[in-house]
């Protein structure tokens, strides 16, 4: 099988003083190339945590996570970083933009970090800014944007590098239904036309219908 992400017997717990708080328990989840998966579940069930782990932003307490067949825990920082730059696009629940960079620079960051020439990505930049509808906000810094606009910048940033995998944590949580639908439509298009894998966390049943598989988390366990 052609899995882009494999989660095997994975547990995640946090130490709180002398106690171990189990956040995720015995997770087994395989994501095939080209899938569009929605993760749903009540607040605090561990959705964001799972998504971060799949993107290699944190280490599991036990078990394995493989990205494109390679185990994250054995990767060197360089390799891990490179995967995050090129293969994965993250959209965080709390947008997480660099405050001192403007919209364009924030979107271009993965390109810059990859050491590529900005020039060659001008067209691509115009394209994604157009898609997320921020053409008239290109030089604004994050604090000059609304929450929804910031979220759209984060989405644009996740798209700029044409990553194979997009990990999105409630990507349209702050958007009105029209804008949310547009983004979801865009995700579906990317998924269909380019065959890119998308994993999103969502609370909205409607948003989940854009995907082709939904998994449910409850109390840290897959249902």
């Amino acid at each position: 099988m052609n899995y882009v992400i494999q989660v095997e017997e994975m547990n995640k717990s946090y130490k709180m003083g002398s106690e171990q708080v189990v956040v995720l328990a015995e997770i087994n989840l395989n994501i095939e190339r080209g899938e569009f998966v929605s993760i749903m579940g009540p607040s605090g069930s561990g959705k964001s945590t799972l998504l971060y782990l799949m993107g290699g932003l944190d280490k599991p307490s036990s078990g394995n996570i493989k990205i494109k067949g390679k185990e994250i825990s054995v990767m060197k920082d360089k390799e891990e970083s490179s995967i995050r730059r090129k293969d994965i696009g993250f959209v965080f629940q709390f947008y997480n933009l660099i405050p001192n960079l403007n919209v364009e620079d924030n979107i271009m960051l993965p390109i810059l970090l990859d050491g590529k020439k900005q020039k060659n990505y001008r067209k691509k930049l115009d394209e994604v800014i157009e898609i997320v509808g921020l053409s008239d906000r290109r030089k604004h810094t994050p604090r000059e944007l609304s929450g929804g606009q910031q979220q759209r910048v984060a989405i644009a940033r996740a798209l700029i590098n044409d990553p194979e995998i997009i990990l999105a944590d409630e990507p349209i949580g702050n958007l009105d239904s029209k804008a949310g639908d547009d983004i979801m439509e865009l995700f579906r298009k990317i998924n269909k036309e380019k065959g890119h894998t998308i994993i999103q966390v969502t609370h909205s049943k409607e948003a989940a219908t854009y995907g082709n598989r939904t998994v449910f988390l409850k109390d840290g366990k897959l249902q």
């Binding site: 945590t49 971060y52 993107g55 932003l57 944190d58 920082d77 360089k78 891990e80 970083s81 490179s82 995967i83 995050r84 730059r85 090129k86 994965i88 993250f90 965080f92 709390f94 997480n96 933009l97 660099i98 405050p99 001192n100 960079l101 620079d105 960051l109 993965p110 810059l112 970090l113 990859d114 050491g115 590529k116 900005q118 810094t141 994050p142 604090r143 940033r157």
Partner: protein, 831 residues
């Protein structure tokens, strides 16, 4: 309330490192503040001690005058005023010759006085020898240096020639080189029983010097008057001119004022940037607090009380540390044998209180901007934690900075006289302020220059680093700290260097003779005879009047006579017009040439007439002009030989200058042997110069050491800032990491940032230093130091820039390590 106090303490314990940094900054600034106040007092004392070492601590000295029939007198007339004095001690001073093993003659200053009396006037300290405090008939006390030099041990017998007759002495004690034994470069001193010298001189019970110390120093004027009348044939005067001391001290206080100013500015920066972060961290708490209905004032009160707590803790430790520093310095600078004489370092309560006030004010002033800013933020933004720092308003600062620079360049040039000091101080302050205001645009300018270079060398990460630099206030603070630090270091170094160089070069640059000597009773005939001595090429004798009052205007420390045919051959004075013509004119009547500083101090202009109070009476002179000179630190004037000789009423030269056509040292030896009986005091210009350097060295070493030490606070500040900067940027760094910035790239980015901070800070600092160096001559002028060439210490500046880079890079090591440890998710979610 309890909630507030609790949260403040909890915060302090949680963020131990931050707490430590803030307290450390306050501590170091306070201790420097304290030490700089105390040190300038101490330095004044060092100087005073130095002056007093030869004359003692008396308030009035009565000595042999030219008019008296006999050099000896009695203390009885002075004792009529016993009620007003703490001592009246008579002494017989005399001269002797000691012949060394290699048959060289050395002059000896004999003090015929009881050792316990000497200890009251001018304390010395027994190194070796007998216990008893008094001396028997033949006994003599020498300094241990002298004893060692001439290989004399306790109990050794040797001869001294007094008034042509050889007398036997036994070395009973040696003293450490203090008091009269402190300066034995030209001769050495000895204490012998008063009766012994009395017998030799046939003085009976009389003395030739009386030392008087007053109970109340305010009596001085009165007593000078009374004693002058009582001892009308003798010279009754103050041993040291207070003016002289004050002059020296004012130079030093200016230096310390600058150091203190710099220290304060840097501390404010450090504490400001630390508090900013503290407040940022408190935001969620304050937000919650305010959202449930607490008033703004209550929230501010919470912050201010925390800040005061820092101030108090820092002030306390700082003052203690300051006392420690002071003590350490005095231990280092005081030789072993001096330790129980002036053992106590003076700690004034005023200084302690001032330091405390300083610490509290410092923390308050540094935190006010943050608190005001906080008050302006709507609750909504505090609660949602959606405040981001606004970009720096570069243009406004640039304009204001440039405007402030205008008076910096204008004031010192046009304000003269009494107000000059104020003008110069304002200029220095404005330069400091302008510098900080110009730093954002200055940094921007250099960043623009670096940008293409960085793009080429460091690629995209270099560009990112530059972008961070342009926006991050913290790094601007770092640059400001470095710039101010470097600028003031340049300032202090070049100022003290130029003073040092100038005092050193007084002889090499303006003296065209090789030997200077003074002899008692040297008249025209005496000089004529000297012309035939082997090695003497040319010879020039001058008269000198000391401490002459200028009626209604002040006084002049020294007035020398001028032989118009010789002066220009022996001294290189830079007269404003043709030297020959000026001297012709000087000769043509009752004219006087003033040193530029003297002219300014007296407030007279060319053509004005001044009345000088000479011993022979009041004389009116016309001011012919002025000339720059360092003689007597510019407290100096010239009058024609004919006139001065008449006014002081003596046919004897004060100074004799000799040009040689042989090795000057050899000529000195020849002169010493040939003129042995006249007991000349002879030195080569080289020796004079060395003495000069030695006497200034200690003071300048302390000032320089202190300046460097104050850099320490700058360095702490830079470390603090960079670390705080990274804490502030934790989230951004986590962000960078989450979208795939590798650890290497993070390291590279922070490294480039710190490198650039260091470079820009160093460069802007050296530009600021250039302005300071430009001001220095005006400072000298304002405090009546004669014009000296001030040099920009270019090679040191390059070193400073390198040092700033080293500082910023080493300061970035810890933040880099910290930032790599950051847990990406935690940082993104919670910070």
């Amino acid at each position: 309330m309890e909630f507030i106090v609790k949260s403040v303490f909890k915060n302090m314990f949680e963020k131990k490192f931050r707490f430590f940094l803030i307290v450390l900054s306050i501590t170091v600034s306070t201790s420097l503040f304290f030490a700089s106040m105390a040190i300038s007092d101490t330095l004044g004392k060092i100087y005073e001690e130095k002056l007093k070492s030869s004359v003692g601590n008396g308030d009035i000295i009565i000595a042999n005058g030219n008019k008296a029939a006999t050099p000896f007198f009695h203390t009885d007339k002075a004792e009529a005023y016993e009620g007003r004095t703490s001592y009246i001690i008579g002494e017989l001073q005399g001269e002797a010759v000691y012949t060394t093993q290699d048959q060289k003659s050395v002059w000896v200053n004999l003090h015929g006085i009881d050792p316990s009396d000497m200890n009251r006037i001018n304390p010395f300290k027994i190194d070796q020898g007998k216990e008893s405090a008094s001396l028997d008939d033949n006994e003599i006390i020498l300094s241990s240096n002298t004893a060692e030099k001439y290989n004399l041990n306790i109990g050794d017998k040797f001869k001294l020639e007094v008034g042509g007759v050889k007398h036997n002495f036994v070395l009973s004690n040696t003293s450490y080189p203090i008091g009269i034994f402190a300066d034995e470069a030209r001769y050495f001193s000895a204490i012998i029983p008063k009766e012994k010298l009395g017998t030799i001189y046939h003085a009976n019970d009389a003395v030739n010097v009386i030392h008087v110390k007053l109970k109340n120093p305010d009596d001085k004027e009165f007593m000078l008057n009374k004693l002058s009348q009582a001892y009308s044939e003798y010279s009754v005067r103050e041993p040291i001119q207070q003016d002289d001391i004050n002059n020296q001290i004012s130079v030093m206080s200016t230096a310390f004022l600058v150091v203190m100013f710099v220290v304060s500015i840097m501390s404010i920066f450090i504490i400001y940037s630390s508090f900013k972060v503290v407040i940022l961290e408190r935001l969620p708490l304050i937000g919650t607090f305010r959202s449930i209905g607490a008033t703004k004032n209550k929230a501010n009160f919470m912050l201010i009380s925390e800040i005061f707590l820092y101030g108090i803790i820092g002030g306390l430790i700082g003052t203690l540390l300051g006392i420690g520093i002071l003590y350490g310095m005095s231990v280092i600078t005081t030789p072993e044998y001096l330790k129980d004489i002036d053992n106590d370092i003076q700690i004034s309560y005023l200084d302690v209180i001032a330091s405390f006030v300083f610490a509290s004010l410092l923390s308050l002033v540094s935190s006010i901007p943050s608190i005001i800013k906080l008050s302006k933020i709507p609750i909504k933004d505090i609660v949602l934690n959606t405040i981001a720092s606004k970009p720096v308003k570069r243009t406004i600062r640039f304009v204001v900075g440039i405007i402030l620079l205008i008076p910096v360049f204008v004031l010192p040039q046009f304000v003269t006289g009494q107000l000059a000091v104020v003008a110069v101080v304002i200029s220095i302050l404005l330069t400091g302020i302008a510098l900080t205001l110009l730093i954002p645009s200055g940094s921007e300018f250099f960043v623009l220059i670096f940008y293409p270079i960085y793009k080429l060398i460091f690629g995209n990460v270099g560009m990112l680093a530059v972008k961070n630099l342009r926006q991050n206030k913290n790094m601007l603070n770092t640059i400001s700290l470095l710039a101010i630090g470097v600028a003031s270091l340049i300032f202090i170094i070049s100022a003290s260097n130029s003073v040092l160089r100038a005092t050193t070069n007084l002889y090499t640059e303006t003296a065209s003779f090789d030997i200077e000597m003074s002899v008692a009773k040297a008249d025209k005939k005496f000089v004529k005879r000297m012309e035939d001595i082997d090695g003497v090429e040319d010879i020039y004798g001058t008269f000198r009047a000391m401490n002459i009052d200028v009626v209604g205007k002040g006084s002049i420390v020294a007035i020398d006579s001028v032989d118009k045919n010789k002066l220009n051959d022996f001294w290189d004075f830079e007269f404003r017009t043709d030297g020959k013509k000026v001297l012709e004119k000087l000769d043509s009547g009752k004219n006087i040439l003033l040193a530029t500083q003297t002219k300014e101090r007296l407030g007279v202009a060319e053509g004005d007439e001044i009345s000088l109070e000479f011993p022979e009476g009041e004389r009116t002179y016309k001011v012919l002009g002025d000339f720059p000179t360092l003689q007597f630190t510019g407290n100096y004037a010239l009058i024609s030989e004919k006139n001065l000789k008449k006014d002081i009423g003596t046919p004897y030269y004060s100074n004799i200058y000799v040009k040689t056509n042989k090795d000057p040292n050899q000529v000195v030896e020849t002169l010493e042997t040939k003129l042995k009986t006249s007991r000349p005091d002879i030195m080569t210009t080289k020796q004079l110069e060395e003495n000069n350097v030695k006497s200034n060295d200690q003071i300048f070493t302390i000032i320089k050491g202190f300046a460097l030490f104050s850099m320490l606070i700058g360095i702490i500040g830079v470390f603090n800032n960079l670390i705080v900067g990274i804490i502030e940027r934790r989230k951004s760094i986590a962000m960078f990491r989450s979208i795939g910035m590798s650890k290497m790239q993070i390291v590279k980015m922070i490294f480039i940032e710190s490198l650039t901070c260091g470079l820009i800070g160093g460069i802007i600092g050296s530009i600021g230093g250039y302005i300071f160096v430009w001001i220095i001559p005006y400072i000298f002028k304002a405090i009546y130091i004669p014009p000296i060439s001030v040099e920009y210490p270019l090679s040191q500046v390059i070193l400073f820039i390198l040092a700033t880079v080293v500082i910023t890079i080493s300061a970035s090591i810890s933040p880099i390590i910290q930032s790599l440890r950051v847990n990406i998710i935690t940082a993104i979610k919670y910070e």
